[in-house]
């Protein structure tokens, strides 16, 4: 039997791939990766550059969803404030750009540090609580950041701020080039997926998963679970901050709307829709959710009338997400 919790391994680990017959799930993941890798080439051939823009956005939000799933799917910490890190990452880039600092070597690390510090503060408070308190507190602190951004008159307040220049790295990596930027996002997404995969299977990852499964027992056998969960919460915050950095560069614009609380909801939806049990699931979920949103909004102005009940349907009838469905078919 293939352990999908190891995302698996089926495509990250050549040995396993060789020893297991291909199944629907792996085929699906490989096909998706191939499409994502070749998309800019297709766009260049057909002249359809909208696709690259759309999928850059999808990759960036997929990264955010993967980071959320690290704490939610593996750690059992349902954060309803994850969009705050998108905003924090984005605002660090935007504010520095506005102040004339365009170097990515300054912007990016600083954005990640600020995201991590915020996660440290919020995590230290909300990990003292559990369950529904955790959900509401993460939500409330994210809303605080949202209002702070609205209050920053110098940086556009409610209206947001246009970033004149994307982050500057060495000349060879010109982020203003759409294709280059797409591949940077793609590479970072793959790197983060790989990192999270290593992480959840490491000693650290097992502690996190053990704490999700039975925190009381973890403490009884000698784990100070609080500090492990806090570190995990900070890692997820930093990774999502990276997503915010990319998002600000992608749209060349920051505004409080980046971190509206419904955006946090969208990220949860992506993770659940794709399947929380696997590292790659949220990527599938992000692609599915954002494409669906795109298609629905091209058909109707009132996509929520369809999307909302659909979401309720997923909760009630397909809780394993797309990954769960594929898994069932792979077994049969």
């Amino acid at each position: 039997m293939i352990d999908w919790r190891n995302l698996s391994a089926d495509w990250l680990d050549a040995r396993k791939l060789a020893s297991n017959p291909p199944n629907l799930r792996n085929a699906f993941v490989i096909a998706l990766l191939a499409i994502l890798a070749l998309l800019p080439i297709y766009s260049a051939l057909t002249g359809n550059y909208f696709l690259v823009t759309l999928f850059t956005r999808i990759l960036i939000l997929a990264l955010a969803a993967v980071s959320l799933n690290l704490i939610m799917g593996f750690g059992g910490m349902v954060s309803f404030g994850h969009a705050a890190y998108l905003g924090i990452g984005g605002y660090v880039v935007g504010i520095l750009a506005k102040e004339g600092i365009n170097s990515g070597f300054v912007q990016w690390p600083l954005a990640l540090i600020v995201s991590g510090l915020f996660a440290l503060g919020v995590g230290a408070l909300c990990l003292r609580t559990r369950g529904v308190y955790f959900i509401m507190i993460t939500l409330a602190f994210a809303q605080m950041v949202y209002y702070v951004a609205i209050g920053l008159d110098r940086y556009g307040g409610d209206d947001g701020l246009t970033i004149n220049k994307r982050s500057q790295f060495i000349d060879a990596v010109n982020l203003s080039n759409k294709t280059v930027f797409y591949y940077v996002c793609f590479a970072l997404l793959l790197a983060v997926v790989y990192l999270v995969w290593r992480l959840v299977n490491s000693r650290f990852g097992l502690v996190i998963q053990g704490a999700r499964s039975n925190d009381r027992r973890m403490r009884a056998i000698g784990f100070p679970t609080f500090r492990y969960k806090l570190v995990c919460f900070v890692i997820a915050g930093v990774l999502c901050g990276l997503s915010g950095v990319l998002l600000a560069n992608h749209t060349s614009f920051i505004s409080p709307a980046m971190m509206q609380w419904t955006r946090s909801g969208d990220l949860i939806v992506m993770a659940v829709l794709g399947g929380m049990g696997s590292v790659f699931g949220p990527v599938v979920g992000a692609v599915a959710f954002l494409l669906l949103e795109e298609v629905l909004s091209s058909v109707t102005e009132y996509s929520g009338i369809i999307l909302g009940p659909m979401l309720l349907g997923v909760v009630l009838f397909a809780r394993g997400g797309i990954d769960g469905i594929l898994k069932d078919h792979s077994r049969g």
């Binding site: 939610m72 349902v78 309803f80 408070l125 909300c126 003292r128 609580t129 369950g131 529904v132 308190y133 959900i135 509401m136 507190i137 939500l139 409330a140 602190f141 809303q143 605080m144 209002y147 702070v148 951004a149 609205i150 209050g151 920053l152 008159d153 110098r154 609380w261 419904t262 909801g265 949860i268 939806v269 659940v272 102005e301 009132y302 996509s303 929520g304 009338i305 999307l307 909302g308 009940p309 659909m310 979401l311 309720l312 997923v314 909760v315 009630l316 809780r319």
Partner: protein, 305 residues
Amino acid sequence: MLYLIEQCLNGVQLGMLLFLLAAGLTLIFGIMDLVNLAHGSLYMVGAYLAATFAALTGSFVAGLVLGLIATLAVGIVLEVVAIRPLYGRDHLDHVLGTFGLLLFFNDIVRWIWGPAGMTLSLPSQMLAAVQVLPGVFYPMYRIVIILATLAVGGLLYVLVMRTRIGMLIRAGASNREMVSALGINITLLYTLVFGLGAALAGFAGMIAAPISFVQIGMGENILILAFVVIIIGGIGSIRGAFVASIIVGLIDTLGRAFLPDLARNFLSYSAGSSLGPALSSMLIYMLMAGVLVFRPEGLFPASRK
């Protein structure tokens, strides 16, 4: 000084609105163990329905009454169709399912009423200002809001503490099995409680409508303030919700009114101007953080009550 009194009254009035929302949320959570993100949608639906009925009948009061009945009906239908299957599932399911409902409500309201929003105008006698203290004038309608909400709060207290239904509600909150073992129809009880919460939220939306604006998503940000209220007050506690509502209403209003000036005194003028608004919007969250550090269960934990 006059300004201070006026701002305090504004704070109390905001607190009262928050209380209407938070009381429903906290009841629904305490009794059904359900986190309802669509609670703010009922606030919005209430406002739209009241504005519509007021326009149809030409009467503000008739608009409120009909709107309230209609919101109650919407709440009951919502509970039966969509909320009931969520009972007993984990909180993530509640959050996702009711998030879906929120998306649904936003777009169905947009579809029915259009994207432009509505206004609910007050009858002329409500527009006057009254002298609340010598030399202090305050809009009549805002005083009506405070008094009406206090009355609703009082009714709620009587309902929960003094009636048979209230006894069942309290028993249901502490021991679900026992209530069903007594042969009480728990399904019906849940529907009633959810309907009550919906009506309270709708009522808050409709009385807030004349002083704000009836629009899509109007319930979303105030919903989160209501969450802050019940975290501070203690989940499941109506008394906690009441006290915390007033605290949050006052601090938020006074902070926004005075903190930017204070910041300018302490910091340089420009730094104060740019940080002041940002700081003032952080106040209630700082309060929440403080409560979490010192009283993680909130000011009035329901379990100990």
